[in-house]
Symmetry: C2
Subunit: 550 residues, 2 copies
């Protein structure tokens, strides 16, 4: 089964967006028959990847299409249940790879909610109007404010450990300790019980922000939403930018978008990803950019690159290595950058910028090797130069190629490379790169705008290798063969460590500490063996655990 991440509200089966001025209500009302597979039913607002693909789309559209929305209320459209979390039968039947990719995507989606609250003036709050268990509570945790109805029934819980022998791995454990800052012994009690907490105790233990009796519920939710909306800096009368359908053509191992091209060589386990620079001059100002809408080059590239990356992750497991190229005019990229980065006051530029940031973070988290190839005709400048720094290695051609009259390849640094697209650890990619030689960061910054050819770029530490034409093919072939011969698992673990030097944040802890432990558990017989809790859940048979503590 190939999974498509493209959708739009007219096709949603699980969510409703209800707009009311500056507040949007995002209502979860999962269609039990609307999962990716008919192997399971999505009862009680439980979810699978299909549900999360819609949620991800809704979060994006609220930001771009609804500048007027300043607060998003996440709630349930069902009676007595907010959300039961990830569907267990789905998890029980899923391959290890699907579980891992499912969790990664759902984690990114929840971080996108937090990014909207923090950076977009669109604050998420959860109105928990029923039982809120596991992934359901993790969804609430990703909002900035959690209200719980005090009806003596509705509760919050993380029953994964007790019931399923796995972790609340969609950020749950990390947000309990690092965002909600729940005391560790209380967190231990909470996370080891099936029942969870409700009412005042849930608030006193910092698990929710407010508990409200049913009689006052609707008014309190509305008032709180209005209050959060009032803090926003989003513009009053802006028009939204429609995220028009993303066009993708697929034929003979080639996936084509307007500015992104993916070539798949599944036999050699290599993909070629090419990003094309702008084909038109940059618009004169933000208003003109907005008039272009989804065709505005940086937005188009972000959407296409994101779709390509997500496709590589879930639909192309055999691909181990992605060769990253660009094609176009570096100066044209920089004129777009000027608009994107300097128009800080413009809501649309801000959205595009943060979106690009999130797409680059998806690259950081993708379990494929990325090698950037910098060749004549490329346009690794500013925003696009980040693709070099997001790659595991890079190689740059010295001089020109016989029969090619284009100028030698050059990298052009811009403001984009110095803090505008932070990684999950809070540092720019160049800052992370030069942790050991911060003075190089200053040297590089002084070169902003200069066309840096191969040897200078290598000297500055911007690329791994500068190579002459006569070495190029051999060197690349050897690197490709080496990578293709090594254990994909070891490479995934190695990259997950080497890419995140320096500080950790709540975000990186979710993908490091929490996810890595969860992936370990997802391999353990106690969870996934024939007697494992995930396999036996709902069967009435108790799981048979190996009781060794490891």
């Amino acid at each position: 089964m190939r999974i498509d991440f493209r959708t739009d509200p007219s096709r949603y089966r699980h969510w409703r967006i209800e707009l009311d001025g500056d507040v949007a209500v995002l209502k979860m009302d999962v269609d039990p028959a609307g999962g990716l597979s008919s192997d399971y039913e999505l009862k009680l607002n439980s979810y699978d990847l299909a549900v999360d693909i819609e949620l991800n789309d809704a979060i994006q559209r609220l930001r771009f299409e609804h500048p007027e929305v300043r607060c998003v209320v996440l709630t349930s459209g069902k009676d007595n249940v907010f959300c039961a979390g990830a569907n267990i039968r789905m998890l029980g039947k899923a391959t290890h790879g699907h579980k891992v990719n499912f969790c990664k995507f759902t984690n990114e989606t929840r971080l996108a909610m937090e990014d909207a609250s923090e950076n977009s003036g669109q604050t998420y709050m959860a109105a928990v109007n029923g039982a809120c268990a596991g992934g359901g509570y993790e969804l609430a945790l990703a909002t900035d404010h959690i209200m719980l109805i005090d009806d003596r029934r509705s509760n919050v819980s993380l029953p994964e450990t007790a019931l399923l022998g796995v972790l609340p791995g969609t950020g749950g454990l990390t947000r309990v300790t690092d965002k909600r800052k729940v005391r560790r012994d209380r967190a231990d009690v909470f996370c080891a019980t099936e029942e969870g907490l409700r009412g005042a105790k849930a608030r006193d233990w910092r698990l929710v922000d407010e508990v409200v009796p049913p009689s006052k519920w609707q008014d309190a939710v509305t008032a709180r939403a209005k209050e959060l909306a009032a803090r926003s800096d989003r513009p009053k009368d802006a028009k939204g930018v429609p995220l028009t359908p993303l066009r993708r053509e697929e034929a003979d191992g080639r996936v084509s978008y307007s500015h992104v091209e993916l070539e798949l060589d599944r036999e050699r386990r290599v993909a070629s990803l090419t990003v094309r620079g702008p084909s038109k001059p940059a618009p004169a100002n933000a208003a003109e950019a907005q008039a272009l809408g989804a065709a505005f080059w940086p937005l188009a590239v972000a959407r296409e690159l994101e779709d390509a990356i997500l496709n590589l992750r879930v639909n192309e497991p055999a691909i181990g290595l992605v060769l990253v190229r660009t094609d176009g005019d570096a100066q044209a990229v920089l004129t777009y950058d000027a608009l994107l980065l300097n128009g800080t006051g413009d809501w649309f530029m801000r959205e595009v910028r943060h979106y690009f940031k999130r797409v680059l973070k998806r690259v950081d988290l993708t379990a494929k090797t990325f090698f950037a190839l910098v060749e004549p005709g490329s346009c690794f400048a500013g925003t696009l130069a980040e693709l070099i720094f997001a790659s595991d290695r890079s190689m740059m051609l010295i001089g020109t190629r016989e029969g090619d009259n284009r100028a030698p390849a050059a990298i052009v640094l811009g403001e984009a490379n110095f803090g505008r697209f932070p990684m999950g650890n809070g540092l720019s990619r160049l800052e992370s790169r030069f942790l050991g030689e911060p003075e190089t960061l200053d040297v590089a910054q002084a070169k902003i705008g200069a066309a840096l050819e191969a040897e200078e770029a290598e000297e500055l530490g911007l690329v791994t290798f500068a190579r002459e034409d006569f070495d190029w093919d051999d060197e690349l072939r050897v690197m490709m063969e080496e990578r293709a011969s090594q254990s994909p698992d070891a490479l995934t673990g190695m990259e997950a460590n080497l890419r995140f030097a320096g500080p950790e944040s709540m975000e990186t802890k979710i993908f490091g500490r929490l996810t890595a432990w969860q992936n370990w558990i997802f391999q353990r017989p106690n969870a996934v063996g024939e007697q494992g809790a995930l396999k036996l859940y709902g069967s009435g048979v108790k799981p048979g655990y190996s009781m060794d503590r490891i």
Copy 2:
């Protein structure tokens, strides 16, 4: 096989300590036949847990028994090989549990070297006089200065990924990025090749600090060691404190030390760990304390507690829960604390303090649940109160028990609880505990010295539950049964997340990000399956990898 962590230099088979004034040479010369099992030979200075138990012992003794030693030179006693890393045949045959515990202990040992360099005025340097691969290079990475002989042969390498399909999991990846701060693309190249680097390139890539030609090697090593020694603040004429043999008696599921007692109920999967307070008044000053030597109560407790914890880890996998109790006089503990914590200028007090810190960190990293039980007769004061805060939960008895005329239980906070025993994340346990309510930390600090009975302690957030006698047994039974019924793997992952709220350090990244990924890989068929690289290494048969990237 039961593993004993006790040893002393007279019994070493793998290491030699050569003393020369303020410099000690710690020479690795592994006896191939001296491993824990005869299933494998420890060729080429490869190591198993037996080798590391001696290394750990040597590091301890150098600190306590040799105040005159200010620099430790780690080198090889064999020709042309520094260390080939962990023995692969051992890893290939080991159970998952043994691999995990082996890696944990070796990681702690390397951190103990760094702790000596940072806090003990005893700086470690590596004199890499031969091939230095995998765990061998990880050993060098744990020193403060790496010298590499430039003989066109000796090199440093991390071939785990390329050769074995696993990670350099003994801190390797983390120290390359976070300690040596190697650029990520170079780290990628280095960690994906078998051959590693030698000579000037190894230095230019920040993998070693110095390369020295063979003709100057011995002089250069000596000069560097002298220079590092000269920076030390260790006393000139102090006498060492011999770490006399640790006495342990075992009978009928009871393990007894002088001040620590462990009772094992393997059927219920519960251990009772009791630490007894001092039986004698504290010595008047540091000199008197030193005269007591290994019998000095805090040192005795640290050694015994450490041995008990290590035994629980590797010899008692069935034990899931440890009930932590103390027995004695709180004021007596505090008088020892006064000596320990205020004698900052005294080298011996400093050693004991840092040792206690390291033992508490071992508790933090132990994959068992700890419940602290605070009852009449207990002495959870100062240093010993840390055991409550290192536990996953705690319960404290309100008032007295029928027929027991001892005073109600009280916790007494001391300076010990406010930064003197930091966790791996750099925070004190109370700081981590009160991340969400830092004002509580101040309130608690104002209570230093006060006897805090159950209800006040609960109110202050120092214990999880205060309970009356008539509730106690039932509550404890339910908690014990609940814990015993849950998946040990999920509990391990849960605790590894909940115990480390807030910031991450290089140290916690090693046990979080790196270890968790390694443990995942240690479960994957590409490493441990019949066709896996760890299984087939040395057989001449190439591993058969599943090529899916996950």
